[in-house]
Structure formats: structure tokens, C-alpha cells
Symmetry: C2
Subunit: 135 residues, 2 copies
């Protein structure tokens, strides 16, 4: 039985060793898993980026969110150059272990355009539009 099929039958509060869970996460062909960052409290979805096993371990051990940059092929310690850090509050995975959801405390803008969230383009049927200005 797949680990995640087994977890689906468990109840709130039931535990599993993190090492075993991480071994069964579903990484893609590049060894990556998508991670959604959501601001604690407001619930605003800030961004989506990618992690590998090492950046997950770094994020859990340091409490500061560390992604894997696909364009630069290196660790991306969020805010290391900009100062706009993401403090990890909680990390969840989903029912089939192929996505992460991070509750974070984001300092300043999460987006490289200096907007709070990367999701500032609303797509409507005919006309799309910009929904936020840089901070």
C-alpha cells in the first residue's frame, strides 16, 4: 500500500516520522516539488516556487524558507539578497505527497516586481488586468 493511501485512513493527531514521510514525497523528474507560500493570518497566497529534498531539509532546520532556483540551478534562500525573508510557520503536504503548502511570515514584498504577491494579473474571459501596484 502506498504511504499516502495509508495516511488517508489516519485521524487528526496521528503521527509519522518525518524522515519516512520525506522519503515518500513525489518529486518530479528534476527532483523538485512545487511549494505554495501563504501568508499566515491573512491567507494571501504570495508565490509558488520549487524545492528539492535538500532545500526542504534546510527550510525545516533553519525555519527560513529556502527554495531551489530552476533558472540559476542553486539554492534560493528567500530574501538573502533583498532582505525580504520568509519565516516558516508550518509546512504541509497533500493527499498524494506531490505539493507543499507553506504558511510563512513574509517580510516586505514576496514578488520580484516589489508587489506583495506574485499573483497580480487577473485573467477574465475577454480582458485581463493588473490587480496590484508595487509597494
Amino acid at each position: 500500500m502506498n504511504l499516502f493511501d495509508a495516511l488517508a485512513d489516519q485521524k487528526a493527531g496521528d503521527r509519522i516520522a518525518t524522515a519516512a514521510l520525506l522519503e515518500h514525497l513525489c518529486f518530479n523528474e528534476q527532483g523538485l516539488i512545487p511549494a505554495i507560500a501563504q501568508q499566515q493570518g491573512t491567507g494571501e497566497v504570495l508565490m509558488m516556487a520549487w524545492m528539492n529534498a535538500a532545500s526542504i531539509a534546510t527550510t525545516l532546520s533553519t525555519g527560513q524558507v529556502c527554495y531551489w532556483s530552476r533558472s540559476r540551478q542553486q539554492f534560493w534562500r528567500k530574501g538573502e539578497s533583498s532582505g525580504n525573508t520568509q519565516k516558516l510557520i508550518t509546512m504541509h503536504t497533500d493527499c498524494d505527497g506531490d505539493t507543499l503548502l507553506l504558511q510563512v511570515d513574509q517580510q516586505g514584498p514576496a514578488c520580484h516586481t516589489n508587489r506583495r504577491s506574485c499573483f497580480f494579473i487577473e485573467i477574465d474571459q475577454e480582458q485581463s488586468h493588473i490587480t496590484a501596484n508595487p509597494q
Copy 2:
């Protein structure tokens, strides 16, 4: 100049034709883009799944969320068999056009385990645990 670089310089309220925007979305090698579903009002992140160009068009035209099922290689009209539909409220894309964020109104559980959200496994440093029961 990349379309999304140009959009970054625009201000709230500025418009672009949706047809042009959709042409420049960044699909992966399988022609897919990740879509995050978030419950309107509560902000709860319910699930992450994948869309292709046709399922985006269907979602926008019908107002009901339609994903692309990677396992079944077919359209996945959310709730078609379970009745747990997702009504589309808004669709956003992000600063580089490689992720979608859907504000939805989810009927019943979003997760195949009958939990409201798919993200019911919290990963802590040593011990992880289940955070929600089926409805």
C-alpha cells in the same frame, strides 16, 4: 521584451487582451501549468492540480473549474462524478506566467479522502502528523 516583464511595469487597472495573455503562459513540457485552488472568503488552500490550454478555456467559459488529469490523461471536471464542484470566482496568474491561482467556491470536500483540503499532513522537523479528519 518578454510579455510578463512588460506587465510588471503596468499599474493596477491596466488591461491586456486575454487571448494574448494566454498565448504567453508558460506551460511545461507536457503542456501543463499548475493551478492552486483557494476557497473564497476563508482563504483556505484546498488543492493544487494541473491545467492545459483547453481546460483553462473551458474553466473561463463555463465558470466551473476543469483540470487536466495527468493520471487519466483526460479532462477532470471537478465534481463531475462526486458532486463536489468548484465554481470559479477569479483566476490570476503570477509575475512570470507559470502558475495559476483560482479563487473558488468549493462544494463539500475538495480532497478525494473526503477532507475539505488536500493539505492535511503537517511536516515538522522530527514528527509529522495528520491535521484534519474526513468530513
